[in-house]
């Protein structure tokens, strides 16, 4: 079992620093102790092998310890950031959650039991019968309805067996995202040190880099853009940085050039992570890191009609609430349009209509539904527009039942959306039009018309 090998490695380096969180150092022995405490607690609360367990927490040494204890107990784990609270009861139902562990900070926790029968689902039943730990992650579906992705945790951990280089890594990506899980397991398997952030604004991140001499920063193009705009990098000594990795949205070459100027000598690496597949090891073109090469025997790629398909043994087992996205011969359609240069790929964009606001996905349908319920709105279409700061912004085009002053209407719409949508989902640009907003087949015309 890979997780047992991890525990053995941790025992060998028990006196080394493992995690820095809220300015406190946790050594590998501290993590091992906490894992033991949690293994006892799982017994105490009758959380048996094969049960589906949600863990609600952000990054903390304790959260990682709970996850490792659950893997050792062959549980199916559903990590949920506290920010998903609005949807969490849906998430518990979809994932067949039987126990909810909520970490409240300062070693306080709450455990709740729920009635559910995961064996009714074929994918989960197989995992339980094979005595493998599982992982359920939520990814946004094309209709805006979250899809539950099931991984075999044992398989996901295979690639970390060869993690040798130990760095001081700032775990910037979220706790319940595939890229976040990738960062914290890489750190543990390689015997490196992970620095967990409390806040993710440029000043807080720069402070952490300076204070703890961070060497690796996994992040997104939007964060890098915000870092440049804030000029916070000028106030701190960031010379410890050796590697910046970025993923989750398209990187523009202009931003890349500026990052190169601000961080000379720092290696810039593009990552390509998909919740359904995990993040394959990748290489970037030395002269231009917008090009990526998937560099692993375990990940095969092929391109059909400019769309990237990937096949890998470590792919998810399937969705709990959606049909299988794999072709009959096991290829996964990423939906990403790419161009090819030899062994390298460049991601051009998503084929779908998802709007990517600084790495946060917005589904037009969800925003349209809210705006449609506003008085005096006849029809509405929501679409994305390119934006140099956030990658894309949300825009809305509306037809009205009765004439209304456009700036008055914009204000009214934004105010109406304020307590119904997250700030990044609220349209930035609102246009009133007299043209019809659907085509002859009654399909919404989402392309911006300028």
């Amino acid at each position: 079992m890979h997780i047992d090998r991890l525990i053995k490695n941790m025992e060998l380096i028990s006196k080394q620093e493992a995690i820095i969180f809220q300015d406190k150092i946790y050594y590998y022995k501290d993590i091992l102790n906490q894992i033991e405490v949690w293994e006892q607690r799982l017994k105490l609360h009758n959380i048996e092998k094969g049960k589906v367990v949600s863990i609600i927490s952000d990054y903390s040494p304790e959260a990682i310890s709970v996850i490792i204890a659950l893997i050792r107990n062959q549980n199916i784990i559903v990590p949920l950031s506290p920010s998903t609270e609005v949807q969490s009861s849906d998430f518990h139902n979809i994932s067949y959650t039987q126990h909810i562990i909520e970490l409240l900070g300062d070693h306080r926790y709450q455990i709740e039991k729920k009635d559910s029968t995961p064996a009714n689902n074929l994918i989960l039943r197989n995992l339980i019968e094979n005595k493998h730990a599982g992982l359920i992650l939520f990814t946004s579906g094309s209709s805006g309805k979250p899809k539950a992705v099931v991984h075999d945790f044992e398989k996901l951990l295979i690639k970390f067996q060869h993690s040798k280089k130990n760095y001081r890594t700032l775990c910037f990506m979220l706790f319940d995202h595939i890229a976040g899980i990738d960062s914290y397991f890489y750190c543990l398997f390689s015997g490196g040190m992970a620095i967990y952030p409390v806040s993710r604004n440029p000043a807080a991140i720069c402070k952490l880099i300076e204070k703890h001499k961070v060497e690796v920063l996994p992040t997104s193009p939007t964060f890098l853009n915000l870092l440049l705009i804030s000029e916070e990098y000028k106030k701190y000594d960031l010379s410890s940085l050796e590697i910046i990795t970025f993923g989750s949205e398209r990187m523009h070459s202009l931003l890349l050039d500026k990052i190169k100027n601000v961080f000379p000598g720092v290696k810039l690496i593009q990552k390509y992570g998909v919740t359904e597949l995990g993040s394959p090891p990748s290489k970037t073109k030395p002269e231009d890191s917008t090009w990526i090469k998937i560099d692993s025997d375990q990940f095969q790629t092929r391109i059909i009609d400019d769309i990237l398909y990937i096949k890998t043994e470590t792919a998810m087992l399937g969705y709990l609430n959606a049909p299988s996205p794999f072709t009959a011969d096991g290829w996964y359609n990423t939906g990403d349009t790419v161009i090819v240069d030899g062994e390298y790929l460049q991601i051009i964009g998503r084929k779908s209509e998802i709007i990517n606001v600084g790495g946060e996905k917005v589904y037009p349908a969800e925003v349209e539904e809210i705006i449609q319920s506003l008085s005096n709105v006849d029809e509405v279409v929501v679409y994305g527009e390119k934006n140099v700061i956030m990658g894309q912004i949300v825009c809305a085009k509306v037809t009205l039942l009765e004439e209304e002053d456009s700036s008055q209407f914009s204000k009214r719409l934004k105010k109406y959306c304020k307590d119904k949508l997250e700030p990044y989902k609220i349209p930035v640009k609102i246009k009133i039009t007299k043209n019809k907003l659907h085509n002859t087949r009654f399909k919404k015309i989402r392309q911006p018309i300028h």
Partner: protein, 96 residues
């Protein structure tokens, strides 16, 4: 049309006042930091503010301006740092 610097400053302040700042009663001054540590705006508010400002400029001067574009991002010093740097940048775009 002759554009005066104080007209630009007024439009910047007007656009800022339109942004919902969660009831933070902050007095603006030229050196107020727009985005960054102790900055006035969150990233998405910055984007909204710039879009509003572009609209005001279009209404006032009949000029369609792109304030947040690749040119702005590639400036040596960020034009979005403080109210003053932004006013100067917008004025330079309008008078160049």
């Amino acid at each position: 049309m002759n554009i005066r610097k104080d007209q630009v400053d007024d439009l910047v302040l007007k656009a800022l006042q339109e942004i919902d700042l969660d009831d933070r009663s902050i007095e603006f001054s030229k050196s107020t930091i727009l985005y960054g540590d102790n900055g006035l705006l969150e990233s998405i508010q910055l984007v909204n503010f710039i879009v509003d400002l572009e609209k005001y400029i279009e209404d006032e001067f009949s000029r369609s301006l792109s304030i947040a574009d690749e040119k702005a991002i590639s400036q040596k010093n960020s034009p979005f740092r403080t109210i003053e740097t932004l006013c100067n940048y917008v004025y330079s775009l309008l008078t160049e």
